[in-house]
């Protein structure tokens, strides 16, 4: 359980998510790593170049910081501290509550990510240089995929979780395993006590 609580701290080292944009003119694809507290270039100047390209269709510049970058690190630290306290308390029922809390927190994070992506791809400058419409006449959006691969005009966009996300998932999974192991042992103890 303690391990499960600590592993998500690796989010401060490894990126959570990565969005990659491929096009023939970019033999080295453009890419952006999303950390728990930062956006970072996959290769030097990538975000600047993504911004430059996206301004043609009226997309906002990727900001240097978003409010979430302030909140998320606290979230992770707090959940870790809670996880550690629970771990040392050693009550397996609380392991389950921690697991459920983590799933809820992560889901909230993903929903937030989706909302940001949607806004980034759809909230376009009305004076954009290039305007594209869908077949039904509605303005075309340029939202990167939430998870997976998608073709947007001349680009192929990939969006996948990175090492940080896997560690978060591992931590959460360890919480669940710890609960089940704890439950079994408790069961055994009860059995032993009965006999």
């Amino acid at each position: 359980m303690v391990l499960g609580a600590l592993v998500p701290l690796l989010l401060f080292v490894f990126p959570l998510w990565k969005i990659t944009l491929e096009a023939p003119q970019y033999p080295t694809p453009l890419g952006m790593h999303i950390y728990i507290n930062d956006f970072a270039d996959a290769n030097p100047h990538d975000i600047k170049n993504i911004n430059l390209m996206n301004h043609y269709v009226g997309m906002k510049y990727i900001p240097d910081a978003i409010p979430e970058f302030e909140i998320f690190p606290y979230g992770i630290v707090i959940t870790t501290v809670i996880g550690l306290i629970i771990g040392f308390m050693g009550n397996h029922k609380w392991y389950l509550y921690w697991f459920i809390m983590m799933v809820l927190v992560s889901t909230a994070g993903l929903i937030d990510f989706y909302i940001w992506e949607h806004d980034y791809g759809h909230n376009l400058d009305p004076n954009a240089i290039l305007k594209f419409t869908n077949e039904d006449g509605t303005p075309m959006g340029f939202q990167p995929p939430f998870f997976g691969t998608k073709h947007i005009l001349n680009f192929t966009a990939h969006s996948y979780p990175r090492l940080g996300a896997y560690f978060l998932a591992l931590g959460i999974a360890l919480g669940l395993i710890a609960y089940q192991v704890g439950k079994k042992e408790k069961g055994k103890e009860t059995l032993e006590n009965r006999t």
Partner: protein
């Protein structure tokens, strides 16, 4: 009788087998070799195996070609102004062409030589000579730009230059024309004994490549034609061909060709270093320009230096020896082992090869045959390593492969001849079209040749290409030299006149090629690294426009308050940080050139508004889908108008 018939029939059959073989052989060795096209074809999107750096001759520039395809990749401006890139036109690079004779917009360049480490090409820099107004340039092989130019004092006709020692300790530059040193007003007929020559040693800083004129060796007034630093066992020496040991000063074609033998001068530069250390030099007053381009400030500076250390060859024993070499030798080439020194006697029927071991022995045992101006002449027979008999007419240059073969160009008989080092036998000969000067094999002048291709560079093309009026291109011809016989693969036109060329395996250079200049490292005095710093400043009649460029606008794009008679400096900073997104800048009526600004770079164009009106400026390099929109207007008012300076973008 019967027997004889059988015998003759057998012979006949054999003969026919042989002839048919020979015929087939000829077919497959000719220019029409069926797979020659395949061997030079580099499919779209794929890379050539070698970089080929061909001197631009009288263009003054350096041509960068892909080998084997022969595709021209870039022309690096070196000694001539280039309006395409504003080299020598913008304020930043004008100092590069500064000399003690003033601003020199052109030169004649001959010999590019790639830096070496342990006798192997290392792909850091290329050094190249200016023949007319003596200079040596260093071209950086990460940016493919001229990084430094050093003027050579006490020299004239800097042909014997720029040759790199095997750890790039020095770049050596000799003078072809002897002159009065120091220069003075004197009768030309008093040449003999009064005109002198200099051999300059430019030391190279191994960290940043910066050159320094370390010392000069003063030599008798002959013509010093070409040189080759010793390799491996002869490292520490440099060998230099001479002609005009007659010291003629008029009708040289006859008067300089009288002596049966001229010399190869063997110069012991390790000994020279000892003499310098021991203080055996004199410090002479002179003047020469030293120009350096700084990649952080994107600006060149020119400094005039005032003195040089000189070693007098005639007074310092063991510094220089003369090796008699038949008939006005031109190229001087040392084989990869450093043992053999080939003197390409351009008027001789034979190729003379000296032995370094025998030379050392002759020096030790004083096998001298007189002296010239106090410099010992070694006995010809005692230094001769071998002779290639009757190889062709007019031998000029020799290079080597990695299998112990040498290849020599013959100007008069228009051919390349392959011969064996050591046995001196001729293995193969192939025609060139026509009259080759230098030839080049990758690493063929170093300890480590890559013996795959040979490039012969022809002075004359006559009927080889579609005619283009009286002025025709010169050419390079590529041969495959992997087999016993050379195979002509292709020929391609070149810029200017290709003299020497250096070919380098692509993997030594390609990974280091710079993509952009980092905007954060831009220390140009007039850089505008963010849009909030865009401005215009007036100082009397001088106006400085601090303008940025990024897809797809120039900022500002509306300028008013400029007056006739002003001197306008456009300082353009390219804010892009993406590979291959340069922006150009052209303004109507500019008397100099356009700017071509690389990502992260700042360049300055001076413009003199002469006519009242509203004049456009625009980006001249198709940068983006909205490139056509990347333009602006500058309003020029009469000299006495009182319109205030103003500027804007999208207001």
């Amino acid at each position: 009788m019967k027997r004889t018939t059988y015998l003759s029939l057998t012979l006949l059959a054999l003969a026919s087998v042989f002839t048919s073989c020979t015929n087939q052989g000829k077919k497959s060795n000719g220019a029409l070799t069926s797979n020659a096209a395949e061997r030079v074809y580099v499919p779209p999107g794929q890379y050539d195996e070698f970089y080929g750096f061909l001197s631009g001759g009288f263009s003054g520039q350096l041509g960068v070609y892909g080998i084997p395809s022969g595709r021209l990749l870039k022309v690096v401006p070196v000694f001539s102004q280039d309006p395409e890139k504003a080299y020598g036109y913008n304020e930043e690079t004008k100092p590069m062409l500064n000399t003690t004779h003033g601003f020199i917009p052109w030169d004649d360049t001959h010999h590019p030589d790639v830096s070496q480490t342990n006798g192997v090409l290392d792909g850091r820099w290329i050094f190249m000579n200016a023949n007319n107004t003596p200079r040596v340039a260093r071209i950086d092989l990460t940016s493919f730009e001229t990084a430094e130019i050093m003027e050579i004092p006490n020299s004239a006709g800097n042909h014997n230059s720029a040759f790199v020692t095997e750890n790039t300790e020095y770049v050596v530059a000799g003078t072809r024309f002897s002159v009065p040193i120091p220069q003075r007003d004197m009768p030309i007929k008093d040449y003999k004994g009064n005109f002198k020559a200099s051999l300059s040693f430019l030391s190279v800083d191994q960290d940043n490549g910066h050159m320094d004129l370390s010392f000069q060796i003063r030599l008798p007034g002959f013509n010093y034609d070409l040189a080759h630093p010793g390799r491996d066992k002869s490292h520490g020496w440099i060998f230099i061909t001479t002609y005009n040991t007659e010291e003629a000063y008029t009708l040289q074609e006859v008067n300089s060709s009288q002596n049966d033998k001229d010399f190869i001068a063997a110069v012991n530069w390790k000994k020279a270093e000892e003499y310098i250390k021991a203080g055996k030099f004199t410090t002479e007053a002179t003047e020469y320009a030293h120009n350096i381009y700084n990649e952080e400030t994107h600006t060149a500076t020119s400094t005039i230096k005032k003195e040089v250390r000189v070693l007098e060859a005639s007074e310092l024993p063991g510094l220089v020896y003369f090796l008699p070499t038949p008939k006005s030798p031109h190229g001087c080439d040392v084989d990869p082992t450093g043992e053999y020194i080939v003197g390409n006697g351009k008027l001789s029927a034979d190729l003379t090869v000296h032995s370094f071991t025998k030379m050392l022995d002759a020096i030790e045992n004083k096998k001298f045959d007189g002296e010239a101006y106090g410099i010992p002449i070694l006995n010809f027979e005692d230094v001769l390593g071998g002779t290639v008999k009757q190889p062709g007419l007019g031998p000029l240059h020799t290079e080597f492969d990695d299998k112990g073969n040498a290849y020599t160009t013959f100007f008069i008989s228009s051919e390349v001849v392959k011969w064996k080092v050591g046995t001196w036998e001729i293995i193969d000969r192939k025609p060139t079209y026509y009259s080759p000067g230098h030839l080049s094999i990758p690493g063929g002048n170093s300890q480590k040749p890559w013996g795959k291709y040979l490039l012969a560079m022809n002075k004359i093309t006559k009927d080889r290409y579609l005619p283009t009026g009286p002025e025709l291109t010169q050419s390079a011809q590529l041969y495959d030299i992997t087999g016993d016989k050379m195979v002509l693969l292709s020929d391609f036109p070149t810029i200017g006149e290709p003299h020497y060329a250096s070919m380098v395996p692509a993997e030594l250079i390609q990974p280091k090629s710079r993509k952009i200049y980092n905007l954060e490292e831009n220390e140009h005095a007039h850089a505008t690294t963010k849009d909030s710093d865009v401005r215009i400043e007036r100082n009397g009649k001088e106006v400085h426009v601090y303008m940025t460029m990024i897809r797809s606008h120039l900022n500002p794009d509306n300028i008013e308050g400029i007056k006739v008679g002003d001197k306008v400096y456009f300082h353009l900073t390219n804010l892009e940080q993406d590979f291959d997104v340069p922006h150009g800048f052209a303004v109507m009526g500019a008397e100099n050139a356009e700017l071509l600004v690389m990502p992260g770079q700042t360049e300055t164009l001076v413009w003199y508004p002469k006519k009242v009106g509203v004049w456009p400026f625009y980006c001249s390099d198709f940068c983006s889908a909205l490139h056509q929109e990347m333009s602006g207007y500058i309003r020029v008012s009469p000299e006495d108008s009182n319109i205030e300076l103003s500027w804007g973008l999208g207001d």
